[in-house]
Symmetry: C2
Subunit: 275 residues, 2 copies
């Protein structure tokens, strides 16, 4: 079985890509076969891993865009082995057109799920963890992720203004669970760019944890959600390494950012082994 | 004359609202009559200033949404005096529908410009500075801001991944200047959540300044753009005060965040006085 996780938050700049890439790398480093799918036309996860999204078609390689557009596309043609145990399905800027091109076609929400199914039953499948890096929106690309995933992890900052978007996000997960993907649940929140020193962030974390605790008895997709530990501390190295096409483990394996994502990766794997 | 500035960046979470509110407050504190218009359906600037966007219609008050929807709306009905010398035209969540409601109506890009014109010629006009807080997108709300404004200020972080969005932003300004608003220019960049200690941010700043310098002889809207000083340092107080409906000057007037925005406000006013 595969743990398929959508890293989702409609707010921008909250740490989705930084988490998708470095958490996937941390999980791969524990020896588990991992796939990351870049679903953002900005192609930041692709860039972060050192892949030139503009050169893919010239090399006859595919992208997430091909998987969405062509229900019969061979997903192994979009697969790139980027590190030991870590594969990537890259994005490209043309994917910005996917939303309008898929328009109101039937099954437009299921293209990714079906492509991942074809991949996993191929000889290049067998991934134990699949992480889906979502764009900052609740549109068709994110919906494809929510239909393909079994769990949602929400990267966010423990700030007052960041709390304002969470309601709408959970409401979207609820709608998708009811209408398109009954097995979807919210696994939890990863706090990014976290400032451990201040009372403000502690209050926001208490708020979030209190909300999840009070949802435990309800039939909601976040009833077993938690705030993951460790939080990911602010660490400039995490903002530097994308410019070299490197993960934090390539770039600065002893930096606080590496230690935090390493521990988070181990927690996600341990949790999966007991599920 | 009025300095009308759009605080614009299609990327999310870069400091648009924090800058709109605290820069407007800093300018107001120098004694200049200032207006801030909240153009984001998230209504964060409105929240930041302690105004309940959900209660407006109950009080017979208007919002930016009314100005966009009704070309004859009395803009003074949407004006709230929030501090000395500082007025707000608030937002409301229903404004998310504006894009589809204005659809392809003629003059749909000019609703805000025309409303601000009516406001300034009314008895409640006379604002010397107007700051427009944009949503994280290049859609109709942001276009209304770009048509109403004479200048664009781009809040952003000095990070590699943040650089990736700047090209598209400038391209949009260029298109609007050619087709809709020939007097539009890019005044510059405000660096937010700035980490002064690291070489990475210095390199990104050098990149940006080098780009502007090399554009000085070209007929482009950013030919006289600069990176504003001071940069706004990361300061948790800036993330706390929105939860109390306060500006940084209400909340922590001696905090680094207050000092930085105060200096930036003075720089923007001084610059205007010499223009
Ligand atoms: N823990 C951290 N410490 C320092 N910088 C960070 C950290 N996490 C992310 N960043 C930086 O913050 C910025 C936003 O992060 P990121 O791109 O991961 O967010 P995102 O949610 O994927 O954004 P988008 O909505 O544009 O896809 C980037 O410049 C990134 O390098
Ligand atoms: N200098 C700073 N120091 C610390 N926190 C900051 C600073 N500037 C902004 N923040 C916080 O960072 C988050 C994003 O800032 P802000 O809401 O101003 O960005 P934005 O570009 O308006 O976002 P959006 O795209 O959602 O409108 C908020 O939680 C805000 O309180
Ligand atoms: Mg991203
Ligand atoms: Mg904002």
């Amino acid at each position: 079985p595969t743990r398929v996780i959508a890293l989702m938050n409609q707010k921008g700049g909250v740490g989705k890509t930084t988490t998708s890439v470095n958490l996937a790398a941390a999980i791969a480093a524990t020896g588990r076969k991992t796939l990351i799918v870049d679903l953002d036309p900005q192609a930041h996860a692709t860039l972060h891993l050192g892949v030139e999204s503009g050169e893919l078609s010239g090399q006859g390689r595919g992208s997430a865009y091909d998987l969405l557009l062509d229900p019969a596309y061979d997903p192994t043609n979009a697969l790139i082995e980027v590190r030991d145990n870590l594969a990537l399905i890259p994005s490209e800027t043309d994917m910005a057109a996917a939303e309008s091109e898929l328009g109101s076609l039937p099954q437009r929400h299921e293209r990714l799920r079906s492509a991942l199914g074809r991949l996993e039953s191929s000889s290049q499948g067998g991934h134990e963890f699949v992480l889906l890096d979502c764009p900052p929106s609740l549109g068709l690309l994110t919906l494809n992720a929510l239909v393909a995933a079994r769990e949602v992890i929400i990267p966010m900052q423990a700030h007052f203004l960041a709390l304002q978007g969470v309601g709408k996000l959970l409401e979207t997960v609820q709608i998708v669970r009811r209408q398109l993907n009954p097995s979807l649940s919210v696994a939890g929140i990863v706090l990014c760019m976290h400032d451990t020193q201040t009372t403000h962030t502690r209050e926001v974390v208490d708020d979030l944890e209190g909300f999840f605790t009070s949802s435990r008895e309800q039939d909601v997709p976040w009833r077993f959600a938690r705030v993951y530990r460790p939080s990911i501390r602010r660490n400039i190295k995490l903002a530097e390494c994308p410019s070299f096409g490197q993960t934090i483990f390539d770039y600065a394996p002893w930096a606080p950012g590496a230690l935090d994502y390493k521990k988070l990766g181990e927690a996600i794997v341990r949790e999966w082994d007991t599920m």
